[in-house]
């Protein structure tokens, strides 16, 4: 059975927050969660953000200069500054700082000034002068500051960790319920902290808080600032501190205990390291230097004054266990059960390195874009709305859509001065890819525009212009005089070149484009774009690469399929035979000749989710004629000949409709390439804003992490 966590507002972390920011604590009792922020998203910060979330921490957002507006781990928003973050997320109570020592000071002060009460300063090697500046600010704002050079803080009952501590800590268990009680551990060193918790867990002693106060010589909150506070937290039964030679933290605490015994109502055990350290040699931690003749900082000086204050001082793991057991005379959980839980961790398989996309969930016979089944989108939405959905995650509101229409129409109207340099005789993909690379208007627009949905709309407009040039319909675009002409109509002009079109035809054409917008990261075109995006190639270069991967093998079969369907229809007419007979004969001949039957088969789908909706739309528009009829039987006929199930694919369905609309078969491929522009743009921007550059791109390790299935309202 699953074990419930301790509610956040009953834990030690909440207790700290309440002491320094009572209003924020009040908020937490409403939201029931403690929000945290991660500052610095380098390799360590990014990785540990993930581990913190896996442990259960609510990582609300990140702060990283130059990465504002991006997402980390696909869903955590990143801001330029702590202030920006706090405006959006005013309830953040804890921040961890993972910046390099050269920039840690500014980042920390920014966080402190933003009013965050608990700051965990992971960075090590921070210059002493900077630490002093940080301390001045922390005192001013009553910040509880852990570190610098802390491994972090962890609260096992609430399941919250902020920092890099390994997951070995155990909370109290009362039956199957997690309890709040236990000992609280504070340590200057990270590794000692782990070994200490480990030793106590082996004796059934739970930890309700494990706090790294920092290994540097100068740190934020010291033992003397924290221990008394913790002793007044009702669920702490005993406090353990792990001190070491160097500095005078332990002496200060002992002196305070002697002067104010009433502040220390609970037992304290101190593990002090360095009994056998040689004098005069520095031991790594800046704090751990003993110079001859000092009256503080040695093992003896610490032990002596702590013992005077009634503290049990130990120097060996078993002695620690004995001391704590004697003082508490109880255990908090079944040790066997703890080891069984840990055993699972030891025996875990190495994790697969998956990565996430929020755009399209590709499952056999289902394509879900941003949570919406593609067939619903095709039936209800236009190309620009779908493009917006791909980029942004939601459909646009009305005014946004009007704006996108203007951008796309305007983009189609702007001249493409280099078009004479692109031979129209080229293959469609190659021609479009070349246009993208030569188009200075597009690259200017991309450079000046930060809104990705606008970039996608502009690109669609430009693609339309290239296609109109290729298909000889550019005059139609130039002469489309209507001021508020719709992009849909513009598309029809550019692709078909027919004046006064049947509105149903316009809509049907657009539906076919919408059907082609995306297929997740599975097709080679998306993968080509991602490879380029990971190198941070420019938008148009990555788009060009993606589009040029659309060939006869991938996405380009429509043109031939349309020709094939037309020849079947012609045969049936000329020989006055039934369509299925004509289909049978031509497929048989094709197979005999060792050729492929185009428009059949899909790597993933056995029933393409785009098929039925397109057939139905064709039907409703009155363009479901012979070729559509053939497209409905071709798969069955193929089975009769070959005994193999090869379903009609989207290329085949579009090819049939194009043929029945009496459009140029070339358009079948043009539709596919044009529509796919929207999806490729989305993948490009997702890659550059959520993934590290030059990452190892394992396409089969991608996992859809976006919105769950929803209905179009």
């Amino acid at each position: 059975m699953t074990i419930e966590k301790l509610p956040a507002e009953q834990g030690l972390l909440y207790y700290f927050i309440k002491q320094v920011r009572p209003e924020l604590a009040e908020k937490i009792t409403e939201t029931k969660t403690i929000e945290t922020m991660i500052v610095g998203l380098g390799r360590q910060g990014t990785r540990h953000a993930q581990l913190m979330m896996e442990y259960g921490t609510n990582v609300t957002c990140g702060v990283a200069k130059g990465k504002g507006g991006t997402l980390v781990h696909e869903r955590i928003p990143v801001y330029e500054s702590a202030q920006d973050a706090m405006e959006k997320h005013p309830n953040i109570a804890v921040a961890s700082i993972w910046r390099h020592y050269s920039t840690a000071k500014d980042a920390t002060i920014e966080v402190i000034r933003a009013g965050i009460p608990i700051v965990v300063l992971i960075s090590e090697f921070i210059p002493l002068k900077d630490v002093r500046d940080i301390l001045v600010e922390a005192r001013k704002h009553k910040t509880i500051l852990f570190g610098g050079n802390t491994p972090g803080i962890i609260f096992p009952p609430e399941g919250i960790k902020v920092g890099m501590l390994p997951d070995i800590f155990q909370a109290e268990l009362v039956g199957d319920i997690i309890g709040p009680k236990g000992v609280t551990i504070l340590s200057r060193s990270g590794a000692i902290l782990y070994h200490l918790s480990d030793a106590l867990a082996s004796a059934g002693i739970a930890q309700n808080g494990v706090l790294g106060v920092g290994g540097d010589g100068a740190i934020g909150s010291r033992f003397v600032d924290l221990v008394s506070r913790i002793m007044f937290y009702e669920n702490t039964d005993l406090v353990v501190i792990a001190g070491e030679i160097g500095g005078m933290q332990e002496e200060l605490l002992a002196q305070d205990m002697l002067a104010h015994p009433e502040k220390y109502p609970k037992p304290l055990v101190a593990l002090i390291s360095g009994a056998n350290a040689p004098e005069g040699k520095t031991m790594g931690h800046a704090g751990a230097v003993i110079s001859p003749g000092q009256k503080f900082g040695t093992y003896e000086s610490k032990r002596e004054v702590l013992e005077q204050a009634g503290v049990t001082v130990v120097n060996h793991q078993h002695d620690l266990i004995e001391a704590v057991k004697t003082k508490l005379d109880r255990s908090y959980f079944d040790v066997e059960r703890y080891y069984n839980k840990m055993q699972k961790k030891w025996d875990e398989k190495p994790p697969e390195k998956i990565w996430g996309t929020l755009i399209t969930n590709v499952m056999p016979n289902n394509l879900i874009i941003r949570g919406y089944p593609l067939q619903d989108i095709i039936a209800n939405k236009g190309l620009l709305e779908t493009s917006y959905l791909l980029q942004v995650g939601e459909f646009p509101d009305e005014s946004t859509l009007v704006e996108l229409e203007k951008i796309a129409v305007d983009a189609a109207r702007q001249p493409f001065v280099n078009h004479n340099a692109v031979p129209t005789s080229l293959d469609i993909s190659k021609m479009l890819g070349t246009c993208l690379l030569l188009d200075t208007r597009l690259s200017n627009y991309v450079n000046l525009t930060s809104d990705v949905a606008e970039v996608a709309a502009f690109s669609l407009g430009r693609m339309l212009r290239y296609l109109a040039i290729l298909l000889g319909n550019i005059d139609m675009i130039e002469n489309a005089g209507e001021e508020d002409i719709s992009f849909s109509k513009m598309i029809y002009f550019g692709l078909v070149g027919e004046e006064q079109p049947d509105p149903l035809k316009v809509k049907l054409l657009e539906s076919m484009l919408t059907a082609c917008v995306d297929h997740g990261i599975t097709p080679p075109s998306a993968q080509a774009t991602l490879v380029l995006a990971s190198t941070r190639a420019s938008f148009e270069v990555a788009m060009s690469a993606g589009l040029q991967a659309i060939t006869d093998v991938h996405g380009g079969a429509g043109q031939r399929a349309a020709g094939f369907f037309l020849s079947i229809a012609k045969k049936a007419r000329e020989e006055n035979i039934k369509l299925d007979e004509a289909t049978f004969e031509l497929i048989r001949d094709t197979i005999k000749a060792g050729k492929r039957v185009e428009g059949l088969g899909h790597r993933i789908h056995t029933q393409d989710p785009r098929r039925d909706v397109l057939w139905q739309l064709a039907e409703e528009a009155g363009y479901a004629k012979e070729c559509v009829a053939i497209s409905k039987i071709v798969s069955d006929v193929f089975y009769r000949i070959r005994g193999m199930n090869l379903p009609i694919n989207v290329d085949g369905v579009i090819a049939a409709i194009v043929a029945d609309m009496k459009l140029d078969p070339k358009l079948a491929k043009a539709i596919f390439v044009f529509g796919r522009t929207a999806g490729l743009a989305a993948h490009y921007y997702e890659e550059i804003s959520t993934q590290p550059q030059m990452r190892r791109l394992a396409f089969d390790k991608a996992v859809y992490k976006g919105s769950s299935i929803r209905e179009i309202k």
Binding site: Q44, L51, S102, E124, F125, I126, P127, L128, K129, R132, L135, V136, P151, M164, L165, P166, I168, R188, S189, G190, A191, I192, Y194, H195, D198, A199, A201, S202, G217, A218, I219, E244, M248, L252, S273, A275, N276, A277, P278, G280, K281, T282, M283, G284, H285, A288, V289, S291, G293, N315, H316, Q317, H318, M342, Q343, K345, W346, E348, K349, P350
Partner: protein
Amino acid sequence: MKLYEYEAKQIFEKFGLAVPKKIGIIESISDLEGLSLNFPIMIKAMVLIGGRGKAGGIKKADNIEEARDICNKMFDLVIHGFVIRRLLLEEAVSVSHEIYLSIITDPATFDLVVVASASGGIDIEEVAKNQPEEIWKRTLSNNPKTLSEEVSQEAADFLVGRNPELASVKESLSTVIISLFSAFQQSEAKICEINPLIVTNDNQLIAADAKFVLDDNSLYRQAPLLKSIGIDPKSKRHDVSEQTKYEAQAYIVGFPFLDLLANPVNFQKEEDKLYVGLVPGGAGYGIFSIDEVVNIGNRYFDGNVVPINFMDSGGGPSLSKVADMFHLLMDHPATDLVITSRFGGISSCDIFIQGLIMALRDRYISKRRMIPVFGRMVGTDLAAARAFLDKAKKESPEPLKDLHIIVGNQKIMADVIKDGIEYGFKIKKQKGIGVIK
């Protein structure tokens, strides 16, 4: 990083503090010949440790014979284990009064403290103990860039109050305190001390000695200062003791390492003792693991276990660095057994085990000394580390036959250490090298 006196004085001069006229720095007695000496002169041993005066490292010479004699003796001196390689020669100054001034860090609050005393020239800690009223202290809780006139005046007032004869130099004292403070802050020092600040017969203030400790963490941005006093900004000075061979090796590879044995290269092992090398992970546990080995040795093995080193392998070392850590200990003549612990927080168990196995395989192939390794790993990337270890043991059982790594925390580290030591004694006995009592 501690600075030598002549380096510290160069910094003082940049901040307008007067120092005695430098004659030169000599590295051998013959260097003395080329110098033009204007007697009396001061001869000072350049070592990075206090208590020089008492140990005979500061002398005054009135003529060349005396100077030669003093220099000869001083070059043979060893002060608290430090060999004297250089002597600073400077002109002696007339002394009317001696003052103590320093800027230090309060070990309790980490705030800056300005300290002044009119009783300079002697051991200031003695003064603080016996005549605390002779010491003036001011804690500055706001880490100011410069010292305010108000505070420096107050310090000067105090000094004049203790010794009315200083009244004529009161303003200069105030200026010197401000300059010293600026030198401290701009150089990002940890300690800045003048003892004594000499008031000469003609009322000049001269810093006769200088103690200057820079903050290691800020050296990266103090490159111009370091260069200006002849220090390579990219190499941190090993300033705590004379480096041993192995300490120097570790320093080059880039991890903190200290020999606990006094003379590791020509070390004479005692036959019935087990010498344990430690790769503990983290500086804190580096210190604690020494205690654990000693404690376990005392409790269960008649005190016959000797930890030989401190090491800080924490902070996510690279593969090759991990391998070098094990190589260093296995090349070390004292090592009988290596005990290691990887509690992966920021550092990865996976990188650790790969580095360790790389070292063992390399040693096996190149027929270098193999030492049993006992240890435990828990934490970050454990699953991947375990998979690697299992595979490696199948692929190359020979080089790894004496590698005993416990995966997970079913046994606390103290018990792993105990098991390791027991095993170490067993192996030693089998090989007939040592005998268990």
